[in-house]
Structure formats: C-alpha cells, structure tokens
Amino acid sequence: MATTSAHSDENYINCEKGLWSWLTTVDHKRIGVMYMICVMFFFLVGGIMALLLRLELFAPNKVAGVGGVLSDGNVYNQVMTYHGAIMVFMVIVPGIPAILGNFFLPLHIGAKDVAFPKLNLASWYCFMAGAAMAIFTFFTTRIDTGWTFYTPYSIRTGTATAMMVMAAFVMGFSSILTGLNFIVTVHKLRAPGMTMHRMPLFVWAMYSTAIIQVLATPVLAITLMLIAAERFLGIGIFDPKLGGDPVLFQHFFWFYSHPAVYIMIIPAMGVVSELLTAFSRKVIFGYTAIAYSSLGIAAVSFFVWGHHMFVSGQSATAGIVFSFITMLVGVPTAIKMFNWVATIYKGSVSFEAPMLFALGFLFLFAIGGVTGIMLAVLPIDVHFHDTYFVVAHFHYVMVGGTLMAIMGGFYYWFPKMFGKMHSDVTARLSFVFIFIGFNVTFFPQFILGAMGMPRRYFDYIPQYETLNKISTVGSWLIAVGFLIGLYTIVQGLLKGPKAPANPWGAKTLEWTIPSPPTMHNFEVEPVVTAGPYEYR
C-alpha cells in the first residue's frame, strides 16, 4: 500500500528485515544478492584449491621440503578435481547469469520481476542443495576423477563419485530453471516500446545463454545419472567390460560441457558490451551484429564438442568434421571483438575500475580465443592435448575473460545494487594485481605446454622448474588482487558514501531508478522510445 515518496529511504534491502525474509523472498534482486554471497564463498574455496595446486607445483617433488606440499599424487588428484568441479559448477556456470542476470535482466527490460519469481527462488535452493552435496563429498572419500568424470575410471574409483555427480545433477536443474525463467521473461515482460532491438546487449547475452542452458543441461543430467547407474548397477553403457564405449561417455559429456563454456563466456561478453559503451560514452558500434553474434555463438556451440576428443579414440572423420566447425565458431566471437574496439574508438574514454577490467578482458580474451583456434586445428591439438597449453588456453578465456568481466560488472553495478560508492582507487589496485598476476601465472603455461608438460600431474621433470616457479608466484599476486577486491567491496558496503542513481552517466534503464532500487523496481512503468545507448 505504501507508495514511496521522493525522500523515502525504503529499498529492496531494508523493506523487509530478518534472515527469514531473505530465505523466502521471491524478489529477483534479493535472489541475485544471495547467489552473489554464495558464489563468492565457493570462489574462495576453489581459489584456495588452486593456490594449493600451484604450491605443490612450485618445485619438483624430489626437492626436499618444498616440492611435496600435498602428501601424494592421490591427494593432488583430489584437490585438482575439486578445484575444477567447484569453479565450473559452483562459480562460473551460475556466476554472471545467477547474480547479475537475476538482478539486472528485469531492470534492463523495464519489468517488475522475472516471469516466474517463485521458480527463481526454487533455482537458488536447488543450487544450494547441490552445492551442499558437493561439499559433503569432501568429508567422505572425496573425488579424484577430474571434473570431467571420464569413464571407466569414474566407474571403478572407490571415491564418492556417485554423490558428486548427483550434486552436479541438482545444480544443473538450477541452471535449467534459471534459463527457462529468463527466456520467458525476455519474450513476455518487456516494457512498452522495448522491442527486441532496443534491449541492452547484456539482455541479448542472457537470452542466448538461457537457450544453451535449457537445451544442453538435460543431456548432462542423463549422462550423470548414467554414471551413477554404472557405479551401482554396472549397466555397461560406458564400460568396455560389457561392450560399452568410454568414448560415448565423452560424446555425451561434452555435448553439454562444450556449450557450457559458452554459458560461461557469453554473459561475460554481455557485461563487456555494457561497460565499453558506458565508459566510452558512445553508442555501441554494430549493435545488431553483436546481438545476433551472441545467438550465433550459442547455436554453433552445439556442433563442435568433439574437439575435446581428438585423441580419445573417436574416428578421424569425426575429428576432421569437428575441427572444421570449431574454426567457424571463432567468427561471431571475432565480430564482437572488432565491434567493441570500434566502440571505444573516438569515444570519450575514462579509466575507472570497471573500464580497466573491460579493457583487460579485450586483451586477455583475445589471447585465449586465438589459442583456442590454434587448438581447433587437429594436428596442433594432437601435440597440445592434455598439456599445459590447454590449461593456459581455458584459463585465459575463463579467468581472463569471464572473471575479468564479472569483476568489472561488480564494480560497475555495485553502487546500484547496494546504494554505496566503493573506492575506485582500491578497485583499480585490485585490477593491477589481478591483471599482472594473471599473466605471470598463465603465460608461462603456454610455453610449458609447448615444451610438453602434461596437465593434471603432481610432479615434473627439472626442465620445467623455472617456469613453474614463475607461475606459482603469479598465483600469489592474483590472490592479493582478489583480497584487495574483497576489501573494496566490504569497505564500500560499510563505509562507502551514498551512491546517486546514475554515478557513471550510463543510459540503460536501471540507472533511471534509485540506488538501491525499491522492491517493485519502477514506480511508473517505463515507456521506451529509443535504443539503450543514446549517448550522442
């Protein structure tokens, strides 16, 4: 009943108090914040795993005292598996869609909420239930299969594999429900005048991602269930003992997991589009091309999964077909890169932290993307598969790409979400440490891979020692960077000055409402008469 008057301080955070009001909320903004807290925590856990791995790899094992941080190879395999599984299923796949997508998709299209708010809360509970199951395995026999659960080892190993795959299954359900929610929201809840071609590019990115989530995740679901069936019943579908084919497992697994990496990167690209145009104060170059390239990447991503399997035993014909199509997927991605650079050109550019992260994305994702094209070339991959070259490639796109975008997005939207301004100085400092630390960690790994160092090994020959040392030191710099980032956010929340409605001078709809927004988002339903980036 209460209509907030102009000076009222009521917003979505303080309108209802108490933990229970949060745990039973159906407000997309609160759900986004809940995801944020949980995902940040899981990122911390996965990050600690990474630091442990890098510590183990600081020196070859025969170097006394330093080389054997983790007691043996079995422990290393477990830490390596948890690092991957946590980062993939609990941080990067939910990441931007669940946090920033939930918070800002409705705001960007002028809606009061997502299409199915109660389903949104159910998504969060699914995610938490799955995460709890995953963490629970840590206190049992743990998993050591690698996050990819390849058979037949995942069938035979004595560790808590069945529970972990069920955890991933439950989290996958969360992903499906979020995607479903977003598709219907974009189709149905746009404000008057908000045509598809007036939506912010962030929304196009969320929409494309949602399509992948709905189409790809069910195949992962059945694959995970079949692993459990293999472990309990020995059904034989992936087990050579009964004439099954382990490569078929890989087909089923990567049918989801390749589109999944586009679930990880397309939202990041959506964020970058928003950041570059806002901090160049210039209309985005090639709106239509960027919008449709998101859909294009999503579509083509379903046809390339075999490039993870070039040396697994699939036929040479299949390898050639997948190699060719994989090179095609670079095209829509490159289209975006050129359009972004053209956006900055002759813009009125400022270098606050969000822009630094966006620029960092352009540089790092370019390297990651290009090395991906290298790996798409079949004979090159035969040499590089399962080496550190691949590790470096996917960290460049996932960390150098997605994580950069998430940090930039956090700093950009933090004032809107919490009504406080964070310190841009410490935010920029965090960028410096993360950017430099990232390159110090992962660039040497390209070289290590080319020199032949295998991945997922807990030891190595002395020739690789120097580069590994450099890489480990880099990981410490990254850690410092994220700690500074955490400090920035906490300090901003506790002591930051009040944020205005539009601190960056940006043009999308969320900046027309107070910081933080009221519970119902828009007091008056917006009527849209222009595109989202009308800067000049």
Partner: protein, 218 residues
C-alpha cells in the same frame, strides 16, 4: 491489487499486466520444461540406438524375453489415460468440477494400472535372473551373449526412469485433483491442469516410442 473478474476469476500476479500475459507466459515456460524432458530421455534413446546397431543379435535375445502383450496393454492404458487427461482440461474450461475430478481420478487410476503391470513384469524378470548390467549372471540365465547385461541395463534404466515419471505424474495429477475438488479451477484459470497434462502426455509419448523399440524390434 488483483484484477479478478466476477466469481472464480484468475488472480493475476503483480508482475504480469493481465491474465492473458500470465497464461501465455506460463504455457511457454511449461513447453520449455518439456524440451528438457525430451532431451534427457532422448539421450537414453540415442544410446539405445547406437548399441542396438552394434549388437543386433544380443538385443534380439534380450527383447525376446519381454512379454509384448503386457507392453501392448500398457500402451493402451497410457493412451486412454492421455485421453482422460485431455478431457479433464475441457471439463475445467466448462466449469464442470465433478466431471473434471472424475477424469483426473481415472487418469491416476490408469497410471496405477500401468505401474502394477510394470511390477509384474519386473518381478517376473527378477525371478528369471534377468537383472541389469553386472548383476546378470550369464551362466545362471543361460544367455547366448556374454554382454546381455548391457541390454537389460538399458531396459531397466529406460523403463525405470519412465516409471519414475509416471509416479511423479500421478502425484502432480493428484494435486490437480485436490485443487479441482476445492473449486480452484474455472474457465478463467486452468493452467496448472493444462501444464500437468502436457507432462502426462510427454510420459505417454515416451512410452509410445519405448514400446516398439524395446518389446518389438528384437
């Protein structure tokens, strides 16, 4: 502020602008969920197709132990239940609470009949030692093919997952039945029945393919 019409009007949630938008959105969401069911079950069908092609004689041996008459009856039962589910929606739309409830109850009953027949099939197989995967003792069963366990792995996974969905469907239809008896549905609000109906039809659809593939194409 709800925008109810007369009696039994639909409550429109605050984030929708009218009942039509709410209905269309709900329908679309349900169809998207059905897509995920198709892809999930479809994975099993793909695996089945591949191995059937790889081991045609072994699959033939496995299929010969299935009683096609029971599968046939189950197919008719499910098709009939799809019919009763569809007409229950019509009765809701015509504000005929009693007939809608009877149609829904009949659907649940058909589901129960299906599960009973399934139970007889399974227990007969267990009795013969036709167990999934590693539990199938080739010598005890007198199997010609050493990897017969693979066929029964598929059989139990596919029919088991399907049976689980029959049970879930029965639960959802029971929920609809309770709401129907309470008078929650009308010609202005029937979407949950339609949604559950779509789920039930998918369950029927999957069986329409499972029956010939498992029982007949030996």
């Amino acid at each position: 502020m709800s925008t109810d019409n007369a009696h039994g009007g639909a409550h429109v949630a605050h984030h929708f602008k009218d009942a039509t938008q709410q209905y269309d959105s709900g329908k679309e969401g349900i169809w998207l969920f059905m897509v995920t069911e198709i892809l999930m079950f479809g994975g099993l069908f793909v695996g089945y197709a591949i191995y059937h092609n790889m081991y045609p004689e072994m699959f033939s041996e496995g299929a010969s132990s299935l009683d096609w008459k029971m599968g046939f009856i189950n197919t008719l039962v499910l098709i009939f239940s799809s019919f009763t589910m569809a007409i229950s929606i019509t009765f809701c739309q015509k504000n005929d609470k009693k007939k809608a409830a009877m149609a829904l109850a009949t659907t649940i009953l058909c589901g129960a009949v299906f599960m009973c027949i399934k139970y007889f099939e399974y227990s007969h197989k267990f009795h013969l030692g036709l167990l999934p995967g590693k539990y199938l003792d080739v010598a005890k069963v007198g199997a010609e093919h050493a990897n017969l366990g693979l066929y029964f792995g598929f059989y139990y996974c596919m029919t088991g997952l399907h049976g689980l969905h029959v049970l879930i469907g029965m639960g959802l239809i029971s929920w609809c039945l309770i709401k129907t008896l309470r008078g929650d549905f009308s010609d202005q609000y029937w979407l949950p029945v339609e949604g559950v109906g779509l789920f039930w039809h998918i369950v029927d659809l999957i069986w329409i393919f499972l029956f010939p593939l498992l029982y007949l194409v030996g």
